[in-house]
């Protein structure tokens, strides 16, 4: 993006984002980049809640949020964008209202549908960063394929029980592996059971989701290094992290589609 497209800050915005602007790693330019950015967040459940809330509070200019679910009582134990009064409401509507409460400057596009269909490439193409907060493998692979084709950075998180996973696939760069390089979808059926039948430790999705928000903001403001080619895994029972390295698979069929 060119400098002339960056938004000017009002006095109120300077104050609102002052604790970011004070960070030399962010500064005015980083905060302007965050404000000019468009982030696609897929899934408004346990991970999507803290992602959307931190991105909104941090001043991401535009967010497209996707989810076709409605808020159920079983969600409220951990999906903190949704409240008791939102029961039965579309999650994207409930989350959009929460985003507006946090920061009315954020423009939100709420899409009440699954994204593993045709408009996905257009949605990905319009975004600067894509954050995968979904709850199923077909959507994870579809999002990865769209990000690979459109050369967009993908921040991937997952959380079940006490176990979390996080990685960034920066598909703008040729050397970055993709999700399929790490977890190919060949090799028989996955034998991992439906996720809805597992429990989820409430703050686990907060930990992983907050890290996804952090990685998205880092990408937008050009801060530090992303965990590209590294899979971070958390066992929250012992609060032990592992950092596992992986490379682009020269035989990956998804990477063959990359520009």
């Amino acid at each position: 993006m060119s400098v002339c497209e960056l938004p000017d800050f009002s006095d109120e915005s300077l104050l609102r984002y002052s604790r970011h602007i004070l960070l030399p790693e962010v500064g005015i330019e980083g905060q302007q980049a965050i404000g000019a950015a468009h982030v696609l967040v897929v899934g408004m459940g346990g991970l999507g809640s803290p992602v959307a809330m931190y991105l909104a509070a941090a001043g991401v200019g535009r967010m497209t949020i996707c989810d076709d679910d409605t808020v159920e009582l079983t969600n409220l134990q951990r999906q903190i964008a949704h409240h008791q009064a939102d029961l039965g409401r579309l999650k994207v509507e409930s989350a959009a209202a929460e985003i507006a409460r946090l920061n009315p400057e954020v423009q939100v596009e709420a899409l009440a549908r699954r994204v593993s269909d045709e408009p996905l490439q257009a949605l990905v193409a319009a975004a600067d960063v894509v954050v995968d907060c979904c709850d199923n493998f077909p959507t994870r692979h579809a999002l990865n394929a769209a990000c690979a084709r459109m050369a967009k950075p993908l921040v991937s998180g997952a959380a079940v029980r006490f176990d979390g996973q996080l990685s960034v696939f920066d598909l703008r760069h040729a050397e970055s592996p993709c999700y399929h390089c790490l977890f190919p979808d060949d090799g028989g059926e996955a034998n991992d059971g439906p996720c809805a039948t597992f429990g989820v430790f409430a703050p686990l999705v907060g930990i992983i989701g907050s890290m996804q928000a952090a990685e998205a903001l880092k990408l937008l403001a050009g801060i530090g290094e992303s965990p590209v080619g590294r899979l971070l895994t958390l066992d929250a029972r012992s609060m032990q992290w592992r950092s596992l390295k992986f490379k682009r698979d020269p035989d990956c069929p998804v990477c063959l589609q990359r520009p």
Binding site: G43, G45, G46, L47, G48, D132, C133, C134, D135, N136, F137, R140, G157, A158, A159, V160, R161, F162, D163, G164, Q165, L182, F183, P184, D185, D186, G187, G188, E189, A190, N191, D192, C195, F198, V200, V205, L231, T233, D235, R237, R242, S243, L244, K245, F246, K247, D249, D251
Partner: protein, 89 residues
């Protein structure tokens, strides 16, 4: 001697702790564990004895090429870690 450990997700069917395995490849190490935990095989391998979809194996913290990971020789200090993709969000 190499060691092998499994993600918590698989530990219902696998050793709960890291175990030493007298093996010179990941395949040999897995077969030793499968002998003691037969139900584990179906979670790690498909019917063609390839790694099952969404299972990844790391040796000393790094992933090897999927086609080679089972058969390649491993060093005596190899730490094998078998894990599975999570989809929950």
């Amino acid at each position: 001697m190499p060691t092998i450990a499994f993600t918590h997700h698989l530990q219902r069917h696998a050793p709960a702790h890291t175990v030493a395995v007298d093996a010179n490849s990941v395949a040999a190490a897995l077969n030793l564990v499968f002998a003691a935990y037969p139900a584990l095989r179906g979670y790690v391998m498909d019917e063609h004895s390839h790694l099952r979809r969404h299972v990844a194996v790391f040796v000393n913290g790094a992933m090897l090429r999927r086609g080679d990971v089972l058969s390649n020789p491993i060093p005596p200090d190899a730490e094998i870690y078998v894990m599975q993709a999570l989809s929950g969000g």
